[in-house]
Amino acid sequence: MGRRVVQIHFLFLSAVVCYAMEERDSASATPRGKAPSNQSRKSYGRSRRSLGVELTNIGFTPGHLAGLRAPTSRELPKPRNLTEHVNPEQIALLVKNEWKLSYITPLYQFRHTQLKTYSKQLSAFIAAEKQQGLAVEIEADTSFRVTFSAVLGLAETEDDAETVFIQIHSRPPFAVEGDAPKVIWSGWLTCINGNPEYLRSLPSGFVCLPLFCTSGSESLTSVVKLWFEKTFDCNFGTLSLNSTCLQWLASMWTGCHPAFNIRYLKLVWNLPAQPPLDISYTIHPQDAWDLWNSIREQDSAADTISINEVESFMKGLEAHFFRHFRIYLSAGTLTKVSTTFGSAHCDGKIKFTSGDSIKHVLMLLTEYALLKMPI
């Protein structure tokens, strides 16, 4: 049986604001793990088997779990003009596609100075994979051309490695001379405002670019991943976005509303009914902002958002929905958030529609990618 899809559009009523505020207490009761202050116990060294791990020093002294935890508060995104720092052409590249997200463990012996060599190696590797069994000259002109380029200026702190953008061009087999090769795959590795303690703790041979975004055919993605794994001894895994992450995004985007017009806030839930029920919930931006503002009022810190605020914001939205439809949205999972800034799907897909919003989303995603690191 097909899925039922319920589309619900309505204006958010101001009366709901009070309701949401009543919900606050229960929302703030949700326990959050506090980041342990565990960096001091250096006296416990490790065996040679874990020598490297000891160097990282991050969350690893014996018996410590990885020290990274999701922070309970973060900065409110500020309007920032990216084009001052970053080449607008490069921003345009990041903006137009929907990206599939992966996390990637630190790259060993990756050098930003070698990007040209990597381009050649990856082209040759793709050609070899496509015609397995035959030797391929590195210099040979294959039908695939790979370009690596650094996106300078995107990094937020000194510890962040510069973003690397990869494009695979292909010349159609019967192309007329002079036809520009088409981009058939693109992807980029990035790290924006990664946890400085983690980044600093890595030995010098490693470069941490934990977030990998791809767009293009799955088969090329897997070939590129394979090449990275073989060349830099790293590993990939899919990065799905959990409800909390999507809730952060929804709140952060709503928080930006006065500065940029977000036009709408659209949330999609999936409810575990039989058959599954998809609910799409679109909120007028001004109403969303009013609710957000009413929650924020009492907090003193003006430019940070806390997890409690995010939770009460969502509680408010859910409560309002319950009033009208008698459906507990909290029983389902939040699968998608979108505004005019872009959209994020729980499967690990994200789309940016303007360069202004890229950075704070990437910060959040970098953080989630780092949380996936095995060590």
């Binding site: 065996s47 088997r49 020598l51 018996g63 069994g133 001894d233 895994g237």
Partner: protein, 744 residues
């Protein structure tokens, strides 16, 4: 008939039987064997199916034909899982190409025609001759030629195939077949097969079809052999090589190859590339648990010029490893070292911390992806997970250390583990973890383990205790290997696995021992003092009792009463014997701790309380087993006299003596029968008197109760051999021994 003889050969399992049928065997037994073989043949559905396909008449209807469907399913399963033996390939190819049952069935057969070892040349020749008959639909012709290209390397010899080069060449004019035929010709071409008319034909085709890469490739090969015949300028930007045509069989080929390499592994114990899956190009969904293939790094720019390196993948023997140890280069993927025993020897010598970090990243990633992040249940490839974890366990065992990534993973995994998934493997890994600081041991290890322990079966409880025993054993071994006499702070070199302070280690050991004491006391009670659990618990205390003497850790920790008394009153002699041995070892340890303290004037941290407790236990044991004075004041377990008399047991204080103790009762009866074979009325009390008692004790020693022997000989000094005064002197001497210990 030739086909008949073919049919018999696929029975490869029994061929070894045939070889062993030595001339010494009688005709009769040969006949019996023959019959048995025939019978087996008749029953094997695979052979039956082959027989069916070799004999089925042309024109038999295939729609609704259940027999066909059944046989097809059988051969298909074999083909896709293990691959087909050469004879089966011949039969099925013949069946398929002769179109005896229509092209649909034929196509289906072609799709699972995966060779297990080789493809007989004759089958291919017959196939080509069917192709020449020109009955097949075009799509099938294409599939057949593509199949030939796919299995080309497996064809056992190619001489006859080259002999019919001309026939194959004829198909070049067939428009749909042309690309594939060109590829096939490319593979078959020798200098002698190049003729002017063939070159002309190809050039003619080229003018007709345009500059096609497959024609160009074939022509350029011709040009290599006979440059005088081919006057053609090959454009420099030509795409090199042919495409792969194996897409139809790709997945099946990889699966068959994988299963066959798995069989080979046992033969290639020391070779480097044992775990290689060289053809698994496309990574499947569950690819987290494959050890990568060893390959050298492509990033050789930073290599010193003039410095010769030895690629790890060329390593074949241990002597090679020794010769080239200084020149071996780390592989591109550190995880690949886990795949080969030889590479592990190399890993053992690696001192590069980045290399281990890479290894840990890979390992942690694999474990996390498979067991933590993977949403869909991986019940299907449990075997893959098992073999991966076993590789990991044996690697850690080889290196005598656990990896940090494993440890981190386990701490997280314990919280979500159901206690049954891959239990032996997970507990095996758990026992490898290095010493956990006592501040976190409770949170990381004890809490999740305790939850699992109390909610799981008896056998799980036993395996947890065993796991913790091994863990303790490893911690103590590390300590004893790396502890230095003068320097109690053992953080000297990077070699030490545990360079934590001695007191830190001791705290952790104390925590662990106390934890096991707690859970085993409660566990025993829950399980009704099951002998098995008791035995595992006793094994744990065998290690604990010897920590000072055997492992040089100045620590003596006694079992809690909840463990001691159930063991003392256990119904099986094994556990009581183990308890005796443990008490003997405790005594030795305490005595030597005492003398050490006297000699060096260095206080050893064994508290007065421990001595007191030990004496209490000793008194209990001696009064129960030896003096028949159980349950009396001052013997540890005291019971109210009224209560004892209400139980109606005669002489309750003697019920746990060596004669009456339920664990030794069997031995006592045995002894009684041996002593007085003529007596019909059993009187165990008579063992207690005179020389009989000594004999009985000797008899018990002879039954293998060595723990008891050690215990009695060390803890009881009998002043007089006379049995008449046993009760008093025995008691006295015991108390003397006891007081000695107390005085220490």
């Amino acid at each position: 008939m030739a086909r008949k003889s073919m049919l018999r050969i696929p029975d490869m399992d029994s061929s070894s039987e045939n070889d062993s049928s030595a001339p010494g065997r009688s005709h009769r037994s040969l006949r019996v064997a023959e019959n048995a073989k025939k019978k087996k043949e008749a029953e094997d559905p695979f052979l039956l199916a082959l027989k069916y396909f070799s004999q089925v008449e042309a024109g038999t209807p295939w729609k609704g034909n259940d027999t066909l469907e059944r046989h097809l399913a059988v051969v298909e399963r074999v083909g896709l899982s293990r691959g087909l033996p050469p004879q089966a390939i011949s039969i099925l190819l013949e069946f398929s190409l002769s179109l005896r049952m229509g092209s649909l069935v034929s196509m289906r057969v072609l799709k699972f025609l995966i060779p297990a070892s080789s493809v007989p040349q004759e089958a291919i020749i017959r196939g080509v001759s069917w192709l020449c008959v020109d009955k097949m639909p075009m799509s099938m012709q294409v599939v057949f030629v593509r199949w030939m290209l796919t299995v080309f390397d497996l064809i056992d010899s190619k001489d006859q195939l080259r002999a019919i080069y001309g026939f194959i060449f004829n198909f070049v004019t067939e428009e749909n077949l042309c690309p594939y035929i060109c590829h096939l010709l490319y593979l078959l071409t020798r200098k002698e097969s190049i003729r002017p008319y063939r070159v002309r034909k190809l050039l003619e085709l080229q003018t007709k079809m345009g500059c096609q890469p497959f024609l160009m490739n074939l022509l350029s090969l011709y040009k290599v052999y006979c440059p005088e015949l081919v006057t053609l300028s090959v454009p420099p930007k030509m795409k090199s090589g042919f495409k792969n045509h194996n897409s139809t069989w790709k997945a099946a080929l990889a699966a068959v190859k994988k299963s066959s390499t798995a069989e080979l592994v046992s033969d290639l114990q020391l070779s480097v590339a044992v775990s290689g899956q060289p053809t698994a190009r496309k990574r499947k969904l569950h690819s987290h648990l494959t050890v990568p293939v060893i390959s050298s790094s492509t990033q050789s720019q930073n290599r010193q010029p003039g410095c010769k390196v030895f690629p790890l993948e060329q390593l074949r023997s241990f002597s090679q490893l020794l010769e080239n140890l200084h020149r071996i280069e780390l592989p591109a993927q550190m995880g690949s070292l886990l795949g080969s025993p030889l590479a592990l020897h190399f890993l053992d010598c690696v001192r590069d911390s980045s290399a281990f970090l890479r290894l840990n990243f890979w390992l942690g990633h694999s474990l996390h992806e498979e067991f933590m992040f993977c949403k869909e249940a991986s019940a299907m490839d449990r075997t893959e997970a098992t073999s991966f974890l076993n590789t990991l366990i044996s690697t850690q065992c080889f290196l005598q250390e656990g990896f940090a990534a494993t440890e981190l993973f386990l701490y997280k995994f314990l919280n979500i583990w159901d206690g049954s998934l891959l239990r032996p493997e997970i507990l095996g890994l758990l026992s490898d973890i290095p010493v956990v600081p006592c501040s976190r041991i409770k949170h990381l290890l004890f809490e999740p383990l305790m939850q699992l322990f109390f909610t799981s079966s008896l056998f799980f409880k036993c395996s947890v205790i065993e796991c913790l025993t091994n863990m303790l054993l490893k911690w103590l071994t590390w300590h004893s290997v790396y502890a230095f006499e003068d320097d109690l702070d053992i953080s000297l070199t990077s070699q030490t696995p545990v360079n934590m302070t001695l007191s830190g280690l001791m705290d952790s050991v104390v925590e662990l021992v106390q934890f096991v004491g707690r859970i085993s006391a409660i566990g025993l009670q829950l399980e009704g003092y099951h002998s098995l659990l008791l035995s595992f618990t006793m094994d744990f205390y065998v290690t604990v009792s010897d920590m000072y003497l055997k492992y040089d850790l100045p620590l003596v920790l006694l079992p809690p009463p909840g463990v001691f008394y159930p063991a003392l009153f256990a119904t099986d002699p094994v556990n009581v014997d183990k308890l005796c041995h443990i008490m003997y070892r405790y005594r030795k340890n305490l005595m030597s701790a005492k003398s050490q303290e006297r000699e060096t004037k260095k206080p050893i941290e064994v508290s007065r309380k421990t001595y007191r407790e030990f004496n209490q236990y000793l008194v209990s044991m001696v009064s129960c087993l030896w003096n028949s004075r159980a349950f009396q004041p001052g013997t540890g377990v005291e019971l109210d006299k009224g209560l004892l008399s209400r139980s109606g047991v005669p002489e309750p204080w003697a019920r746990f003596s060596l004669v009456h103790h339920p664990a030794f009762l069997g031995h006592a009866l045995d002894f009684h029968q041996n002593c007085w074979p003529e007596r019909t009325k059993m009187d165990l009390g008579s063992i207690k008197s005179g020389k009989r008692w000594d004999w009985y004790v000797q008899f018990l020693y002879c039954q293998g109760l060595h723990g008891l022997e050690e215990f009695i000989q060390s803890s009881l000094s009998r002043q007089s051999p006379s049995r008449a005064t046993r009760d008093t002197t025995g008691g006295l001497s015991t108390s003397q021994t006891t007081s000695q210990t107390t005085a220490c």
